[in-house]
Every structure is written in structure tokens, then in C-alpha cells.
Symmetry: C2
Subunit: 452 residues, 2 copies
């Protein structure tokens, strides 16, 4: 592998320990390759330089933000360069009048949210990794989060992009005006392209007026059917909740094993529901509480001040650390019609029982987006194989219900085997052809999303 050009010497990481820190992401079993370089870009020029050189030399490039991807999309590639853009972390504009902000790809999701909140504005997308994931990574995966049931996903809040293509060409997509329909919408094409088309170097995000601090309702159910009825009732609400999260029996047990969050140990499901409607969060959560009771909730707790609301959500927030603590797992991300969500949970429970596996199910119930965690023993290849088989069965089940293989994490390496099944081979070929237009030598994230 030819070393990067001199001008980038200063941005190339030489310390092997530091380098190793950029080699993998958060995906299961991610492994560092033997030979790779890491460049920490500090500017557009750095990115242009790397993309020029990489294209000329045919060097694979892995665009990388906080490498918190759960699918292997930002793991280093043998003989390739990790092009990390965390250092491009300036917010250059916040314009409440025109309703947009301009941010570098390395700006943390939470940093952008906080900065625009100080101007009375709201940038809704809120992946669970908000505190440490970057806007560039959010754009690459079209990240979702907890807010999507009311507010939609990252793509709904991207107005324009600056992107560097292989070879170093800098393009701008979209527009900063409120409307604009001149030519094809390439912004949408880049959002969710997982680093396969270009390297995002600037993001113009749409902003909306800030909501109120959210209030919370927590309801427990002794049957999944009752929980399903509650979700259906909430979906028919005129004022959509800003959050509808579900934990199944195994998820509740996992959280309670970490600390006592007050969840009863004999219930089938917990639903957490929020409203952030300006001036009416209290009225909303009271009404939601009534709906949840009518749907058959065993117990309903309403937090009618923000501090209490935060406490009620603590159990949900403890889920990720609780699951981390349990050991290695496949983390699923299927999305099904909301009306089929509990069918999918039941199918997961059936698979767990049949195969002797621990499968914890939780997710964004209001969107039908479930994140089953399928645990295995890292020291036991057979256990891992069983877990992977279960993972496969759950993806199959979701597809069979009219769902998708990925609601918000992306395809990466983890889901690449299923993509042809969801899209069909002719569509895969068409998407590959689009990729080839932007990346004719195939240097960007090769082997990811579309199998080589």
C-alpha cells in the first residue's frame, strides 16, 4: 500500500495503539485487518486529497465518523484507509429564520441538538447513541431513533450536502431555501448510502421550532395482545406521541438485573410513551394513560413534570448498558408494520425457547422497529452459530410480515446477505450501477452493503 501523500502526513495516524482505536466499530465480532492506514481529516482539503490519492491508487476508503456503527459499515479494510471526519466538527451556521443549520460531519448529534436548542430550535433525529455519534454517520445511515414516531428520520431533516467523490471532486446537493426542485434529488441518494457513494463533508440540516420538555407515561401489561392494542390506539391518536418504546419480559428482566428500576417481574411488556407538545404535554400524557388503561394495562404511571418523566425513562435508558453487561450478542434492527409487531415478538420468543437462546426484545414500538438482542457465548462457536441461525430466522420472519431487514442501523456487512432478498437482484444491479457512476473504481467501502 502506497503511503498517503505528503501533505497528509500530519493527519495520518502512526501510533499503532491510536490506530487500533479506529480499526473497528460496534458491530458484533468486528475485527481489525492487518494492514490499514488511518487519516484524521481536519478539513475539506484533507478529504479531497485522500480521495484523489485513493482513487488514483485504487486504495479502499472507509469513511468513518464515531465508528459506532452496529453493522460493520465503518470497520477498516485490509490494505485500505480509514478516513475519519470526527475532527470536522464545526457548526458554522444556525439560522432560525430560514430554519437550517450547517454542520461539519464530525459534529456530535447531541452537540447539534444542544446548539440549536439554545436558539429555540429543534433538530429531532435522536439515535440512542446521540451523545457520541456524529451527524456524518447519521447521514450515512439515515439514522432514526426514539423520536421517529412523531418526527421522522435523519433524511427528513437534511436539506443539502457537500460531498467529496472518489477522485476528489466536490459536489453540492440540495438547496438551502425552504423549497427547491431544480434537477434530481441527489441529497436523498447520499443519505443512507453508508459511505458507498462519497464522503460527506458538510450537512445543512432543517430545523423546526423547539417542543416542550417531554412528559412520560409508563404502562405494564400482562399480555402482548394488550400491549399491541395500546400501540394501535396510540397510533390512531390525533396528537402522536413523541416516543413509544416497548420492552418485552426478557428486556425487563435484563434491566432489573442491572438495578431496580421498579419494573414488576411478572409482566409481559412495558410501554413507555411521551408527549412533547408545546403547552399540552400534561394533557396528552393523561389522555395516553387513559388509552393504555383501556387497552388493558395492568399498571399505568404518569410523570407530569420533566424530572419525574426523566426518572420513568431511566429503565429504558438502562437497557443498552444492561444488555452490554450480559455479553456478546447479535443486535437486530428489523422493522415491520406496526400491527405485526407483537407477532414478531412472539416469533422471537418461540425461536428463543426452541433453540435454548436468550433473546431480549425491545424497540421503537410506534414505528414497528424492533431491536432483538440474541446472546451467545463468545467462547463457544456452536452457541454463536445457534445465535446466528436465530438472527437469520428473525430477519426471515420480518420479511415475511412485509417488513424490512433494517429500520435504522443500515446494511453494512451484517445485513448484506439479505439485501438481494429484500430488493431483488435487478434492483441490486441498478443500485450498483448508480454506485459505479460516483465510484467507478469501487474504492468506497467495497464489499459493504452490496457484496462484491
Amino acid at each position: 500500500m502506497t503511503p498517503p501523500p505528503t501533505v497528509l502526513a500530519v493527519a495520518t495516524v502512526s501510533d499503532p495503539d491510536v490506530k487500533a482505536g479506529y480499526a473497528t466499530d460496534e458491530s458484533v465480532g468486528a475485527q481489525a485487518p492487518e494492514h490499514f492506514e488511518v487519516v484524521r481529516a481536519r478539513s475539506l482539503d484533507d478529504v479531497v486529497e485522500v480521495m484523489r490519492w485513493a482513487d488514483a491508487t485504487g486504495t479502499p476508503v472507509v469513511p468513518q465518523g464515531a465508528h459506532s456503527s452496529l453493522t460493520g459499515a465503518s470497520v477498516a479494510i485490509e490494505g485500505g484507509v480509514v478516513l475519519n471526519t470526527e475532527g470536522m466538527d464545526s457548526i458554522t451556521t444556525i439560522d432560525p429564520l430560514e430554519g437550517y443549520a450547517v454542520a461539519g460531519p464530525g459534529v456530535l448529534n447531541k452537540a447539534l441538538k444542544d446548539a440549536v436548542a439554545a436558539e429555540g430550535m429543534f433538530y429531532p433525529p435522536d439515535p440512542a447513541s446521540s451523545a457520541f455519534c456524529t451527524i456524518g454517520g447519521n447521514v450515512a445511515t439515515n439514522a432514526g431513533g426514539l423520536c421517529c414516531v412523531k418526527y421522522g428520520v435523519t433524511g427528513d431533516y437534511v436539506r443539502a450536502l457537500q460531498v467529496v467523490l472518489p477522485g476528489g471532486e466536490v459536489i453540492r446537493t440540495g438547496h438551502r431555501t425552504a423549497k427547491g426542485v431544480a434537477g434530481l434529488d441527489l441529497t436523498g441518494l447520499f443519505v443512507g448510502s453508508e459511505g458507498t457513494l462519497g464522503v460527506v463533508t458538510e450537512v445543512t440540516t432543517r430545523l423546526i421550532p423547539a417542543p416542550d420538555p417531554a412528559l412520560t407515561v409508563l404502562a405494564t401489561f400482562d399480555s402482548l395482545d394488550a400491549a399491541s392494542a395500546a400501540i394501535v390506539a396510540l397510533r390512531r391518536e390525533r396528537h402522536l406521541p413523541s416516543l413509544v418504546e416497548l420492552l418485552d419480559r426478557a428486556a425487563i428482566a435484563a434491566v432489573q438485573a442491572l438495578a431496580d428500576y421498579g419494573f414488576p417481574d411478572d409482566c409481559e411488556a412495558v410501554l413507555l410513551v411521551q408527549s412533547d407538545r408545546p403547552g399540552h404535554t400534561s394533557e396528552d400524557v393523561q389522555r395516553y394513560a387513559g388509552l393504555l388503561t383501556d387497552a388493558g394495562a395492568v399498571d399505568v404511571a404518569v410523570a407530569d413534570d420533566p424530572a419525574e418523566a426523566d426518572l420513568l425513562l431511566a429503565g429504558r435508558r438502562a437497557l443498552s448498558p444492561a444488555l452490554e453487561a450480559e455479553g456478546p450478542r447479535y443486535l437486530e434492527d428489523v422493522c415491520v408494520p406496526v400491527g405485526r409487531l407483537v407477532d414478531l415478538i412472539r416469533e422471537g420468543q418461540r425461536i428463543a425457547a426452541e433453540r435454548g437462546l436468550e433473546i431480549v426484545m425491545a424497540g421503537h414500538a410506534g414505528d414497528g422497529n424492533l431491536h432483538p438482542s440474541i446472546f451467545f457465548d463468545a467462547a463457544d462457536p456452536a452457541s454463536r452459530e445457534r445465535a446466528h441461525a436465530a438472527f437469520t430466522l428473525i430477519v426471515d420472519a420480518a420479511l415475511g410480515m412485509g417488513g424490512t431487514i433494517t429500520g435504522e442501523h443500515g446494511v453494512g456487512s451484517l445485513k448484506a446477505p439479505w439485501l438481494p432478498r429484500e430488493l431483488g437482484d435487478p434492483m441490486i444491479e441498478r443500485q450498483r450501477a448508480i454506485k459505479a457512476l460516483f465510484d467507478p473504481r469501487g474504492i468506497l467501502n467495497p464489499g459493504r452493503v452490496y457484496w462484491s
Copy 2:
């Protein structure tokens, strides 16, 4: 030109008078070519058949809905086929739980709105042509309307598409689940592609809960600066208005010339503002009225019941017929930053005065999307030339203010000369290359959007 295949004989229009009705759209000076065919597709199979035949024979195809385009995007092409999809007008699904509807491309915008309203749901996009334009045409142009200041544009409400490509391949883009990020977003690519990539045969639209019937505030201003201050204040409102329309002095005169809508004849601008916030429209319009007064409105009228609100809006609705009645005109569609809107109006007025033209300016002030009408005498080529020169100057002015050549009408033939200036030649080449992937023989709307 080879005639269409036998199976389509029944769908091909033979009566010359009927055929002539499909030859043009609503764009200025649209002229029917000498030789063309019209096929009225009734089904997916019809479209597939035409696209197979057209690709094999290299026959140009103009996809067409209600041919209400203002840019020439749906005018027949010499030696080509107009492929009209108005007859594919079924709404096959309205699913309030999953939040979507499935409609044929020929469904009228208003028909879809009404059908989903009956289920308590809302499909926001509302071009002024709502009563007669089709969803297929709305998708083709990424149509906007009056609601966009609060709700966004057509693209924000399209979840999935079925599209027939040249050669007859049927593809599906997007997903029906609330979230889904598997592969590239081709839905966004087709939305706004103006019939250059494929023929949309089915649209899955996102639906949201229905708002309240709107209430209206009408304010008159004796200076454009005061009107601008009012627009800025409204944009900073936590509860965004669902409509912010502006009429300039010339627009007010045009409306008053049609009938007395109660507009004073000595004011510089009228602003119409609506709220449809459930349970709070009255509170909102009262607050908006206060903002408008504070910004310097001379007179403010608040309609606090829906019937009265409708009356207040009558003057705005009369604008289109009033302008139609005045004679032929170039109809502009530029969009600039909201903070520059009155600069653009002043520039238009300066051009009108300098060149002895009548230019009426009105539009979606909350989005910075202005629709100047530049009148000319059809019998006088010099007058038409002067009008076109003014049209050019206004587009130039908008681009100079960081705006776009088209906010919502599209490029078509009318704006094609400016597209390279807005996008740059390298981007045009890239977009052409994308087009060529879907339409390698260039049979779809040739010469539109991208000049041949």
C-alpha cells in the same frame, strides 16, 4: 412513427379533437407538434406495453397526468407518444394505523385528500391546482403548495413508488413500513424527476393525523418592509402557521379588478396567514394578529370561524382566475431565502417600471417562494420579448440572492436554460448519467429538464 402495438389499439386516441386535448399543458405558449400519438393507460400492463414498444422503437414518451404543468414538462413531442395515466385513478388502500395510502398516478390530489380525510387522516401537499392535478404529476414535479411552510412538499409524503422503466421493467422503490434504510433511496430520486427516469404507476403516500379546519388572519401593509418584518416574526413563531401568502400592490389591483374582495387600493402588500393547529387555531390566529400589528400592519382582520376564514381567503383564491383573465404571461416560480423575499419583490417592481411591463407578484411568503406573473401582448412579439427579458432578470436576481430557479413548478422546458447555471455543468453531466442508467436510449421526455 410505428403505431403502438395491437394490444394498445383500444387505449390509443384516434379522434383528432380528443387527441389535441392532450397535446399541451398550461405553460406559456405551449404548442402541439404535428405528429404524435396519445395513449390513455388504464393499467400497469398498458404502461409496460407502451414502455417496451417505445424503447424498442426509440419513440419519445411524454408521461402525462392532468397536463396542468406550468413549465412544458407534459407537452407532446414531435414523433412521440403522450402516455397519459389519468385513468389509473384508484385508491386501493387507506391504512390509518400504518399511516399510508396507496393511489394510482391518476388520482386527483383533492380526491386523495378527501378520501383520507374521511378516515381522520391528512395528506398535506396542496398545489393550487389541487382540484384537477394528479398525484402522479405531483410526484413528477415534487409539487408544493400553500401548506409547505408548515408541512413540507410532496416528497415528504411519498414512502414508496412503483415505476415502469423504458423497456418495460417494473421496479418498486421505498418501503411501506414507518422506517426502512435497506439500500439507496431511489424514491427520492424519482420524486421531482419530471418524467425523465420512469413512469410512476403507483404511489404509497405517508399520511398524518388530520388538523383542525383552518382559521385566517388578513393584514394589509403600507410598506414592503413592514410586511417583511411580519413574515420574519411569523417564521420565528413556535407554532408555525399552516399558510403565509403574500400579494403585492399589483396583485391586489388584479384581484380587485375581478371583483371587490375588500382589499384597500392604496396598500403595498396583503398577507394572509392561517393556523390549523388542533384545538388552538383561534388562539394562534389571535396571536398572529398581534404579531402582524406589531410588525406595522395598517389593518388586521381575524376570522375565527371556518366559514369566515374561507371568506377572508377568497381574495387569494381569486388571484389565479384574475391573472388568467388579464391575458398571456410568463409565470415565475423562484424561491429565495425568506429574509430576501421583499428584496426580490422590489427588484421585480423595479424591472416592471424600467421596462414598462405589468408584473404581478404573489406567492408563498413563508417559504420565500414567489410566483411573479409577467404579462405581455400575445399579438406583439416585441412585448413578449420584453416580458421574457424581465423573466430572465428575475431568475438572475433570485439566483443572486442564494435562491433557486424553481421552488415547486419544476424545470420542464421553461427553466431548462438556467439549470446548468444553478447546478453547474459537472452536476448536470452527473444527473444525465443517472438518467442514462434508467433510460439509456433517452426516450423519456427528451429535451426537457436537461437540454439535448
